[in-house]
Symmetry: C2
């Protein structure tokens, strides 16, 4: 469906149900979701969503992922308070990735850093170049 309609013009519309019926979920029923801070453009994290997480995110405006480690819906910030408010949700050309523009409260990363991409690689080494903005003990140690 996404492939079939890729040459449609701006304004071409399908129902959310049709889109979700045609997403390229992987064997675990998930698609990758990239969270981006809506105004600064920072890429905050990558996580996964199942159909239910996408539906809940769009219905509530609070971003909900599917936690692969816990095997259940993960309402971002439910433990840490570091919630993501939905600004925009986009689907890519082949329907296997989502771009979720959010307003991130505090830190997106469980380490207390603003974003998860704090290891910078070059041809020889990989170096941490970001520091926490929150104490992770305060985020999860309540």
């Amino acid at each position: 469906m996404f492939k079939h309609n890729e040459q449609q013009p701006e304004g071409f519309q399908i129902s959310l149900k049709e889109a979700l019926d045609n997403l390229a979920f992987n064997d675990a029923g998930l698609v990758a979701a990239i969270a981006q801070q809506h105004d600064s453009g920072e890429v905050l994290m990558m996580a996964w969503m199942n159909r239910e997480a996408i539906e809940e995110t769009l219905a509530t405006g609070r971003v909900c992922y599917f936690s692969r480690s816990r095997g259940k819906l993960w309402r971002k910030g439910e433990s840490s308070g570091q919630v993501q408010t939905l600004k925009e949700l986009r689907i890519d050309c082949d329907g296997d990735a989502l771009l979720v523009k959010v307003d991130q409260t505090g830190s997106a990363c469980h380490t207390g850093r603003r974003d998860c991409f704090y290891w910078k690689a070059d041809a020889n080494n990989v170096t941490i170049d970001k520091a926490p903005i929150k104490d992770p003990k305060e985020l999860y140690g309540k």
Copy 2:
């Protein structure tokens, strides 16, 4: 390894080999790679890299993915001319996603659009809201 060192300070460094040895490649030997235009912050596309693609990208400065459909290395732009020059490659906290900051020539998307995320979703509908900037026939019809 990534988890073990997540509380290390800025400047903490490991070798590229150690990082690659510890990436959380999936069953197909791949990690997700998010391509972002380095200056504007646009998220252009999501694709996949295997170890060899990461090594080649860092060694050459030209972004190389692994094509799941073709089952081989995919030097972005090799058919279309729409290459990505590497500006920065980052690894996330759990070592299963990469953020690749690039300078994108022309269109990242095979449809001729600047980026792949041209379907915008809301609670009821999903709508195309971006037009091609290149004619895909010109990109691939040579």
